[in-house]
């Protein structure tokens, strides 16, 4: 009877000692060993068709997994501190997702936005965005939204109103499609693209979006248009300053002091516009949610 409590105490002591020792050892080992990181981005199975067969009857669940991976991959890349952001795996992940579940609506529509979005906020790869949407059109020809989205990519990112109008006219031919598609397409063909048509497209996209994420993307597009309009108004003022003084303003404060502006101009997200003292060029801040504007220009094509 008397030996039992001592044994229990010893056992407890050993347990605590081992627990502390194991954790401490792990902490020491973690700091001491510089392990070479294995690339966590290896996709062991790269064929969507093979994956679909291996999934047996769980293909839609696996599609969900790949959709989560796509969103996380995009988010991780976008938020990474690396100078050269690499979105190369985004299309294969979305392709896998939509092969496993060919009716995965959001994967097509939002995936196309992530692919076409200007670099570095997105992959800046409109060919892949159109390819994803073409896959959706083949799978669900009864949905006009994919044709509309393809036209949108052509118009907004590729700045090709003729190609965009063709997509919109195809969308207008789909039974049950809205009546505004044809006038917008006509506007594109007649005017070769203008701010009013862009605004109409974004507004309709916002109205027809089935999901908050798409709606937010549309709202962001409208803000970008507002930013572009604001820059178009500010640029002549900056140029006037140059004509008067012989140099571009060093900062917005200088223009405010000269009473050329009532205050520091802000973009629609509330961040000050940037002003290049050397060239007088105005742009949105790189940290602004509306960066990059189409006129910012840097959209390198990523190859697979």
């Amino acid at each position: 009877m008397t030996g039992q409590p001592r044994t229990t105490l010893r056992t407890w002591f050993a347990l605590i000692f081992l627990a502390v020792g194991a954790v401490a050892s792990q902490v020491v080992v973690e700091g001491a060993i510089q392990r070479e990181t294995v690339a966590p981005t290896v996709d062991w199975i790269q064929s969507p068709q093979l994956m679909r067969r291996l999934a047996l009857s769980f293909d839609t669940l696996l599609a969900d997994v790949y959709w989560i991976r796509s969103v996380q991959y995009y988010g991780d890349t976008k938020l990474s501190s690396e100078k050269k952001k690499e979105y190369g795996r985004l299309f294969p992940l979305l392709d896998m997702t939509t092969t496993l579940d060919p009716r995965f609506n959001i994967a097509y529509r939002f995936g196309a936005i992530l692919l076409s979005e200007g670099y570095p906020n997105g992959a800046g790869n409109t060919e892949q965005a159109i390819a994803l949407l073409e896959k959706a059109i083949k799978e669900m020809p009864e949905k006009w939204q994919y044709l509309h989205d393809a036209g949108f990519v052509e118009y907004w990112w590729n700045k090709d109103p003729n190609a965009a109008a063709k997509w919109l006219l195809r969308a207008a031919d789909v039974p049950g499609s809205p009546s505004w598609l044809r006038p917008v397409a006509a506007g594109m063909l007649a005017e070769g693209g203008d701010e009013r048509t862009s605004r109409a497209l974004w507004t309709e996209l916002e109205a027809s979006a089935e999901h908050d994420w798409l709606r937010q993307a549309a709202r962001r597009g409208l803000m970008q248009l507002d930013a572009e309009a604001a820059i178009a108004q500010l640029q002549p003022v900056v140029n006037r300053f140059h004509d008067t003084t012989g140099h571009f303003p060093a900062s917005w404060q200088e223009m405010v002091r000269e009473r050329l502006l009532p205050g520091i101009p802000l973009d629609p997200s509330g961040r000050p516009f940037t002003l290049d003292p050397a060239s007088g060029a105005i742009d949105v801040d790189r940290e602004s949610p509306v960066f990059p504007l189409r006129r910012s220009g840097t959209m390198p094509r990523l190859t697979q």
């Binding site: 067969r53 009857s57 839609t60 969900d64 009716r103 908050d212």
Partner: protein, 268 residues
Amino acid sequence: MRAVTVVAFGVFRDSIRDRIAYGLVFFAVMLIAASILLAQLTAGQDVKIIKDLGLAASSVIGVSIAIFFGIGLVTKEVERRSIYSLLSKPVTRSQFVLGKYLGLTFTLLINLAMMAVALYAVLAYFDWTATPGLRASWEAPALDPRMLAAFALIGVELMLITATALFFSTFSSPFLSVALTVGVYIIGHFSEDLKHIDTIVKSPALATVARGLYYIMPNLTSLDIKSEVVHGQSVAALHMVSASVTSSLFIALLVLGATIVFSRRDLK
């Protein structure tokens, strides 16, 4: 008939006492509940992923119970030698096999119903907390009654897999029975590929063999309507009936085959 009912009730009583079966069903229910957390990562596809996960978990857990318990239905009784005391009572071998099958089938259907209730409960919570805007973005209502059709065909699949496991267990070892039943399950889900294998291989002989396999093996693909119901698509009543009737014929064939093999088996 009374003898069959007694044996079936015995199986049902044993299985609800079995901690492993409990554990598996509990795991499935927890997995369905946990899908609420997982849905947060899916960029607005919460209801879709809950439905996908719920239906997949119900199917996987159900098939696991069907295989591992289905194989033990007869073999356990033989290994424990309790079969002798059972057969000394007024129970024929055919009644014994049929009773065992019906008992496990009843248990599986009860388990499936529990998992369906758990899934609908999670979806009801989502439906209750969703804003009208979010609800409008769903392809199908959260509490879509069409999901019951998917559960019904999962039930038919479980009955078919149980019959397959029971059939193999009457003449082969437990390990081999598991392997053969899993094989039937996998081939059953490749049936469409078997049918169209002539588009991939050049050998006419191989294509003929594959096509023969397609007709011999139960077509489990026809019992899988998970994708359709999750996307809110209607499944034709004719499809439901034809898939169920064909599977029922396979079930009857396998159970009959199991009774014949077991009746002729020398248990000494």
